[in-house]
Symmetry: C2
Subunit: 258 residues, 2 copies
């Protein structure tokens, strides 16, 4: 008789180490935008986020589980040696479950009446939180313009607290949105009516534009109007996520979505 090959014990190569090609691909998916584009896969870290992705109907392609932990999905488990996922993770407190999910096929602007438009935002944490604001307000989509941080980054997914899975994200520039009938309202700290004075109930496609953290929206950007947030604090008191929350909720309320 030969030795234990074929027995119930896992074969040595069935527990992946850091140099395994699958782990190296996972590492590239965490850090490299190009790899995410080519494969159309997004890295989802931790049981909570994996559960959200499944609840939202996303399809898991592959799950990595550190030995001793419990798989979260029904796809075949890739067991990983202790300490490997923490060398790969995008977070400082790595989780024993990391899954790859397929990015759902985009239906483009079809069916989108309300969009939060993120113009060249640079920080993944900020993009994640404004996605969360848009989803909470019931917006149909988030649009990111060319030059924005990658919305498939695991940091964006994490900062969105799973909202990323519930709202489609499209890459379209401002002019193309207007060409598709969107009325674009740029948020500004100083221009336009206050958010409580805008008639949000106007019918038709609406895009609320939030700009880059440092530069805001270009003065000559192709928007149809401006809105500033009426608030009682200092000029600098609102960040992008707070501004997006307030304007999206005001618009949703005006349009009868809340």
């Amino acid at each position: 008789m030969t030795s234990g090959i074929g027995s119930a014990d896992p074969e040595p190569e069935s527990v992946l180490g850091f140099r395994n090609p699958r782990i190296q691909r996972l590492r590239r998916l965490v850090s490299r935008r190009e790899e995410r584009r080519e494969t159309e896969l997004v890295v989802v870290e931790g049981a909570t986020l994996i559960r959200e992705a499944l609840s939202a109907g996303w399809v898991c392609a592959e799950e990595f589980v550190t030995e001793g932990a419990t798989p979260m999905t029904r796809v075949e488990t890739r067991w990983v040696a202790e300490g490997v996922l923490e060398r790969v993770a995008s977070t400082e407190s790595p989780r024993p479950n990391v899954a790859l999910f397929k990015v759902p096929e985009s239906r483009g602007l079809t069916g989108v009446a309300t969009a939060l438009v993120v113009d060249r935002m640079a920080d993944p944490g900020n993009l994640g939180t404004v996605i969360r604001s848009a989803e909470a307000a019931g917006f149909d989509a988030v649009v990111v313009t060319p030059g924005s941080v990658d919305h498939l980054s695991p940091k964006v997914v994490r900062a969105s607290a799973g909202a990323r899975f519930y709202v489609p994200i499209l890459e379209v520039d401002l002019q193309e949105l207007r060409d598709n009938g969107f009325h674009l309202v740029g948020t500004s700290s100083h221009r336009g009516d206050g958010h409580l004075d805008v008639d949000w109930s106007e019918p038709g496609r609406l895009g609320i534009v939030v700009g880059n953290e440092a530069q805001g929206i270009d003065d000559d950007a192709p928007v149809d109007g401006w809105v500033s947030i009426r608030h009682a604090g200092r000029a600098e008191s609102l960040n992008a996520a707070m501004a997006a929350t307030i304007v999206c909720f005001a618009a949703s309320r005006g349009r009868g979505l809340l």
Copy 2:
């Protein structure tokens, strides 16, 4: 003649090293609540926050500046050797200026008509962001109940983006607020009217209560009513800062503050 003592050259002991007692006190002020309570000093890290504190009229007691950087305040500069402040700072990207500011004397509940009440919140980042929400909405004060994270922590100051300097923070428990005539409205994910259905224009003192991140507000907490945030996303879609932003802005609007 004796050597260069008294000359224009700085004496060796005028550039502080890590073991200097002033640096050791600074380190304790960063990390220890008790030290902050005893001294009534708060650590403010970085030029931007120091400028905010000065703009808000806070009084600087002491400023530490890494050799080669520019002092921000008019108090006597404590020059610090390269690399020392980064061993002391609360942040991973330390700044060359760190100042100690005196906590302004509290006027208690005098003059406070609107308060955001933070009940046993645990995370300094969350406390900082809800302080920011309250300040932006024009609330008169933030109240923290016993058992909350220390509002003098440098992490709270930083997460508030300077809003901490513009809004007084009081430590009072819920019952004492009611005894002082506050109508307390607890925020909840499931109880009470929607935030758009509450008549916020009722006169009198108002306290909006946000709870602990994990447990929320106790069922038997002494509140006068509950409010839930009407939103269109998933049940879990709002975090504490978003919820505080939305309810505070709704209340401010109802009371004619915006």
